[in-house]
Amino acid sequence: MGELRLMKGNEALAEAAIRAGMDAYFGYPITPQSEVLEYLTREGYNRTKCTILQAESEIASINMVYGAAGAGARVMTSSSSPGISLMQEGLSYIAGAELPCLVVNINRGGPGLGTIQPSQGDYFQSVKGGGHGDYRLIVLAPATVQEMADFVEEGWDLADKYRNPVMMLSDGALGQMMEKVELREQRDRTARKAPEWATTGKPVERDRNFITSLFIKPEEMEQVNLHLQEKYRTIEANEIRVQEMDTEDADFIIVAYGLSARIGHKVMEIMRAEGVKVGLIRPITLWPYPYATIAKAAEHVKGFLSLELNAGQMVEDVRLAVNGRCPVGHYGRMGGIIPSPEEVVEVLKDMYSKIQ
């Protein structure tokens, strides 16, 4: 059993990053995630001599991440929606240059400056590619403070394994809420060696290393793209993570991730108490997406409800998976409003009565 603490999601994330052997963090203040930068400036260097730097913008932050990742460091940045929008160019470069790093989005309501309250309005941006070009981020969606801590090291391990940026897509509620969290042991960050491709200075015995996403000859650029696509297919084959709850006997399934999955879980309990067999599928990786899990369930259920804090984004992937075999509905609140389980129960009952 690791050390138990009562922590905010943002603080648990920061603490987990220190313990996972983070070499560097670059970030810029934005609500509702500023605790990450505050916690790390207070604790990070003092404990592991890691680099913690408040950058002048999110644009600078993500490009510092690029430089540090290229130099072989275990590196992270975090922000919230408008700041993540500013990072999209950098993320595209990082994906193109195949650099491992962790980027955390504490999603808030938009569009524009929006609100500081929780939202899942950045699903499209996260999983469909918010920047230019054909690339993918591995996207992890925590639903608890515990997962906000756990997915830090797991995210970095995935990033290193595939030389690919990993995004943790959380939200303002998970970032701000306090829960019990079990923390892992402190890793020795000096034990981790820089990868052989990193720009650490060219010894005589090897050719220079260079980090780039520029391939001006179309024949080369196509080969790089084909290589990336092959990598993405490997990730799709190996790294899908999904939680199924009471789906085996279910007549109806709620699909929800992150905070919405917690509401969906309560909805499921209420419905089951009333004798309606409702199940829950919680995608943990939003890319790669658990299409097969949903498709399999579509063979025996009467319908799906995609529950999201947005106008209906993930529902498109649910429909792709279901492929017309049964009705797929969506329910969501926007602008920082979180629906109550009772509100969703009414929606679900209405939908369920129509497909009976």
Binding site: D23, A24, F26, T51, L53, A55, E56, S57, I59, A60, N63, M64, V65, Y66, G67, A68, A69, G70, A71, G72, A73, V75, E89, G90, Y93, A97, T199, T200, G201, K202, P203, V204, R208, N209, F210, I211, T212, S213, L214
Partner: protein, 266 residues
């Protein structure tokens, strides 16, 4: 025939090498236009790195612009940055590898237009890096558009009637601006239009790299350069135009030099 070959080889044996490619430059054909200052600037930077014996400890950052392919010529570990973000990338590298020598090599559009924010804040933090700034008053790679450093009345493809200050602002003396910041340790403006200036510019690069080990702040070497192709001139004419037009507005010389105490106390 065999005899003559033997004679030739013998002849070579008696010759001594007076000029060769530094080991820090790769044996590659550069894509730069004839007469362009980039080739000379690349060479003196890499000669400085060779002479200091720091090739193994150096990491460079290439920009977006004509020198976007610098990593195909410079034989050190390098990263290619997004447009304008070279000093942010260099910050990330240097903070993680504080014992290495880190430099950026950037043009005027990269450093003084799209990357102004990153440049100012990098120097303001006093990052212990070298910024090599090539100022030729034009966007070369994209075909000769107005740069932040384009002179008044200078014609470019986006100032076809000449740059006019009330409409397009004034040529930005960003190096003077950066020299005001406490984080700047050594700031100088050089040129590579004459042999004397090339030697002076190389000396400045050598000093700037040496200073990096002092961990006292950012070193910046601006090199006033040319662009014969997009200025629409022959190389010799371009260098004459540089002397007559660029140097009066961008005068050569040191803007900030370390004091003796700075160096001795380090």
């Amino acid at each position: 025939m065999e005899n003559s070959m033997h004679e030739v080889e013998h002849h070579y044996d008696e010759m001594s090498v007076v000029c060769e490619r530094p080991s820090t430059l790769l044996d590659a054909r550069m894509h730069y236009c004839p007469g362009c200052g980039h080739g000379v600037a690349h060479r003196i930077l890499m000669e400085a790195i060779e002479e200091l014996g720091i090739q193994e400890q150096t990491v460079g950052v290439a920009p977006v612009g004509c020198s976007v392919f610098a990593y195909h010529y410079m034989n050190v570990d390098m990263q290619e940055a997004a447009h304008g973000r070279a000093t942010a990338v260099a910050t990330g590298i240097k903070r993680c590898l504080p014992d290495k020598y880190v430099y950026t090599y950037q043009g005027d559009g990269d450093l003084a237009a799209i990357g102004t924010g990153e440049t100012v804040h990098t120097v303001n933090r006093g990052e212990n890096i070298l910024i090599v700034f090539i100022n030729n008053a034009i966007y070369g790679m994209t075909g000769g558009q107005m740069a932040p450093t384009t002179l008044l009345e200078q014609k470019t493809s986006t100032t076809p009637y000449g740059r006019e200050s009330s409409f397009m602002g004034n040529p930005l003396k960003i190096t003077e601006l950066l020299a005001q910041l406490p984080g700047a340790f050594y700031v100088t403006r050089q040129a590579v239009n004459t042999p004397v200036n090339v030697r002076r510019a190389k000396k400045a690069l050598l000093n700037a790299l040496k200073y990096q080990k002092l961990n006292k702040g950012t070193c910046m070497v601006e090199i006033v350069s040319n662009c014969p192709t997009n200025w629409g001139m022959k190389p010799v004419e371009a260098n004459e135009w540089l002397v007559e037009n660029m140097l009066p507005y961008y005068p050569l010389g040191d803007m900030k030099v370390p004091s003796k105490e700075d160096i001795e106390n380090a």
